[in-house]
Symmetry: C2
Subunit: 212 residues, 2 copies
């Protein structure tokens, strides 16, 4: 590990992604650039993938311009909520959060997180990405529970107006798939995909993360 | 709510249950007695139910002896992990935690949380309980990931030697069912079951929790 050339960069300022990746106990740095989270795609997989790619490329290109002989493993991600073809990003205020949650109440929606990995290694660029889907079912949300949840302010910086790790658990009845994916980063699949990528592309670096 | 006679008591010292119930934003008190977590049942539903009942009854009987004219809503719970008929409680040390996790690795196990509610209302005892099951799938766990997780100490006070809200997410690939149930308390179902119970038994108290 000490001899690895690769530097692990998380291209996201999300404290939840930072915490999830922190569980790996692998050194990493955070570097993020402001990217408008907009896409013309209506397909949720393509939508999240495009935004995740844009976030990753911005950081990757900056690193490449500054130090073209370095070696980087730049990881970016984007999480969206989708129900009946409608894509839910972050609500703009409490009223929109209430609208989002009312639409999701009593139904099962999908959470998609796209992960993009841009790699520079010995002057050559590599790339891989994947999208993970988890289904989440909400109970009916009473007005009282709704307002108590909105009071926490937890909705405002999160896709679909909820964070699964907090008060929304009072009305979430079911998760089907990776839980961490709903938090914002499918960490267990990231370990498997990184293992596959490293062992295939850079067997000499497969021990880099010291995880497999 | 101000006029309610009922006092909400959580008969558990688990900080995770306290946090989950805290999301309801309803006042409650914690009162717990040490009960040996043992049962002769081999069926996981009956096993968890017996221990949850014992925890609740101990607190309920103490309250009843101290103040037989009071009104209480005593909530207790017990969480166990089960795979192939074997019931996993809390590991006794790091070595046993490693054994538990190695047995669960690469497989899907069940987490059962039993919830018991003992109620004293106008001198009369009422009771209801339910058990919630969630399936959790682990990836293969590499030696490196295993030791890093054991290093966190997260295993020691938890059934099955893991807490789903921490570093175990690096090897958990799937959840099917209520996530909060795996944390230790199926809070969304507790809301629904309490609503049903209160509306049927004490319509005059149905607004007590101010939740429905």
């Amino acid at each position: 590990m000490a001899n690895s050339k690769l530097k692990f960069i998380l291209a996201s300022t999300s404290p939840r992604r930072k915490e999830l990746i922190g569980h790996l106990k692998v050194p990493f740095e955070i570097m993020s650039l402001n990217i408008p989270e907009e896409s013309d795609f209506t397909d949720p997989v393509k939508f999240s993938q495009e935004i995740s790619n844009l976030k990753g490329e911005a950081v990757f290109n900056k690193l490449l311009a500054e130090n073209p002989s370095g070696s980087y493993y730049v990881v970016s991600a984007d999480t969206i909520v989708c129900l009946n073809g409608k894509i839910y990003g972050k609500p703009k205020d409490r009223n929109e959060a209430r609208v989002f949650l009312s639409e999701l109440a009593g139904k099962t929606h999908s959470v998609f997180t796209a992960v993009s990995v841009n790699v520079l290694y010995e002057g050559k660029k590599h790339f891989f990405s994947f999208v993970d889907e988890t289904k989440v079912t909400f109970n009916h949300i009473s007005d009282a529970l709704m307002e108590r949840y909105l009071d926490t302010g937890d909705s405002l910086d999160k896709a679909g107006a909820y964070g699964i790790q907090g008060g929304s658990l009072t009305f979430i009845s079911k998760v089907e798939g990776d839980y961490a994916n709903v938090v914002g980063f499918p960490i267990s699949r990231f370990v498997l995909e990184s293992e596959k990528f490293l062992k295939t592309q850079f067997p000499q670096e497969a021990l880099w993360l010291n995880l497999f």
